[in-house]
């Protein structure tokens, strides 16, 4: 199980037009991710972390190179297909939680299920169970603004788990949290890892980098270091 490639990038590049100037955010990134990996991606700001994360999350398409997610090359798919891939194979966790403010905890967890055609009752049951998993069974009817940052991030984690994705992408998941809440979130990540979930965490905190099993350092749009600890 360890050696199954769940995701693989081949010579991924991304070039943005910034006015008249072409900015090369990624200059040939090739990484393989195994099933059950717990990867931290680190690097100074402007090194291409976010760009890589957007590509891995199928929110954007590479300028060149290939990206395989599961069996499929997803680097050339159209917008609809990418949406489906995002909805079924990827779970997002953002720095600022990105919950929908008008929806309750339960409804926020249900959003990805809604787009995959779950029946109401099924999706409700699953969302309730997931809320229980992250310890929010008492908060189902609350709105995000009624919760603490740590609780909001746990809702986001439950939401990311809803479609049982191939990879979970986290972008500075503890960036907006105090150290205690941050530690709780990291504990949750560790548990997910133990369950065999594939986690890719973008961070600039060494503390988080150390807890991951694999550390990838990016510099100037290229992989500078790729180590396992």
């Amino acid at each position: 199980m360890e050696n199954v490639h769940i995701a693989k990038t081949e010579d991924l590049t991304k070039t943005y037009m910034m006015g008249e100037v072409n900015v090369q955010a990624l200059r040939g990134v090739s990484i393989e991710f195994q099933q059950g990996d717990y990867v931290a991606i680190m690097g100074p700001s402007g090194c291409g972390k976010s760009t890589l994360l957007n590509l891995l999350g199928c929110l954007d398409r590479p300028t060149s190179g290939r990206y395989y997610l599961g069996e499929d090359d997803v680097s050339r798919l159209d917008d609809d297909a990418l949406s489906t891939i995002r909805g079924t194979r990827i779970g997002f966790i953002f720095q600022s939680y990105n919950l929908i403010q008008q929806l309750t905890v339960l409804e926020n967890i249900e959003v990805p299920l809604y787009y995959q055609g779950y029946r109401d009752a099924e999706s409700r049951q699953l969302a309730e169970d997931l809320a229980g998993v992250v310890g929010l069974e008492q908060r189902l009817g609350h709105r995000p603004y009624e919760l603490s940052g740590g609780q909001q991030q746990r809702v986001a984690i439950a939401r990311a788990l809803a479609n049982d994705p191939l990879i979970i992408l986290a972008d500075e998941p503890t960036g907006n949290l105090d150290s205690a809440s941050g530690a709780e979130i990291m504990d949750l990540f560790a548990e997910l890892h133990e369950l065999g979930k594939t986690l890719i965490v973008v961070t600039h905190e060494d503390e988080i980098g150390k807890r991951a099993r694999r550390l990838i350092r990016l510099h100037d749009g290229q992989v500078e270091q790729d180590t396992r600890n």
Partner: protein, 456 residues
Amino acid sequence: MDKLSRTLATSRRPSQGRPHHPLAPVRLKGTVALGLKSLWNHRLRSLLTMLGIVFGVCSVIAMLAIGEGANYEVQEQIRQLGSNNIIIRSVKPVEEKKSTSEATYVVEYGLTYDDIDRIKTTIPSVEIKVPGRIMRKDVWRGAKRVDCDIYGTVPWYTEVNNHHVAYGRFFNRVELEEKANVCVIDEGTAETLFPLDAPIGATVHVGAQYYRVIGVMEPKSARAFQGDTESEQQNNGGGSGGHAAHTIFIPLTTAKERFGELLVEQQSGSRSYERVELHEVTAQVVRQEDVIETREIIAALLERHHKKQDYEIIVPLTLLRQAERTKQIFNVVLGGIAAISLLVGGIGIMNIMLASVTERTREIGIRRALGAKRKDIVVQFLVETVILAGVGGLIGVTLGISIPFFITHFAKMKTIITLWSPLTAFSISALVGVVFGLYPAFRAANMDPVEALRHE
């Protein structure tokens, strides 16, 4: 955490193999619920946005109902004159009016019995003619008095003019030939002269002449009886002193016998005399297609024998056509107003939806990241505009239907709500929702998810 593996294990996989289109029946409920929820979160804004559509739809339906009602009344009045009829009336020539101040001058004008004979022999397609003489007199019963038009006519008046007896009967041919002293009074006269007892069989008198009441007519609006306003004015200037509010009918022969052809009118010290044989003749044409042609023939015929323009020809059919034409114009104007008001309402909706899209950029980004396709986003926003326009349309229809009801109740105006007017108004409002919702919806859907997620 065992719980998680259990949770995920037991929940595999979605009952729906593939995601359905957001408008598929399975998902429609959820889609609409989402739209309603989002609108409910901005209640005041949604309400204000809807108002444009509400007033648009409501005013269209109300105006159409009033227009239909007014038009119906006009058409009904004209129809009562008979659409197969040609009405020829005596009109006092303009130049003659001025000389009435001469004390003993007798004005002679109008239709003659010869005219009728000529029309009868020349145009075989004219079936019946109802000649009539109109004199304005006071009708008495004891001490009660009513100012009446005394209308001398023939028994088939009722049939041709579509004006029937409410109870009792109209006079018959025998009574016409015998110059019988019988009369049929209208309802108003009956109410005034006979407030407590039945009028049939009782006696009324005009001057020294006594008449037995044999019937009471159905009400017929004064307007219809008089024809158009133009002729009304001309008749008001005539020797018979205009039309009274009430009418009693007597046989034409009786009228000729008792009142002669000389009408005397007293005007503050001076008397004027005028000689009119017939005041009104109704000619009925068998086929409606021939009405216009027949009118031309009658006009030519009368022109040859009348030196002065002392008659007028009224064709209810052309009045009807005019009324229909007026209604068409009215409908076009109304359609324009409706289009403009719904356009304004639509622009209002689009404006608000564009603001809403900008405001919810981040939500759009989140939804896209979590698997929403472009069409999911399009449908989400489109459903909101359609709900806004649809609910606005429904409220508008409700108001639009109740307003004419109040108008009828309080202003005593006839209003008619046709089935198609609320239907059309509602469909157009829903259409407006779709059309004006498309641009904001596509704008939302075409946002770059990365950009949208970064939006503050």
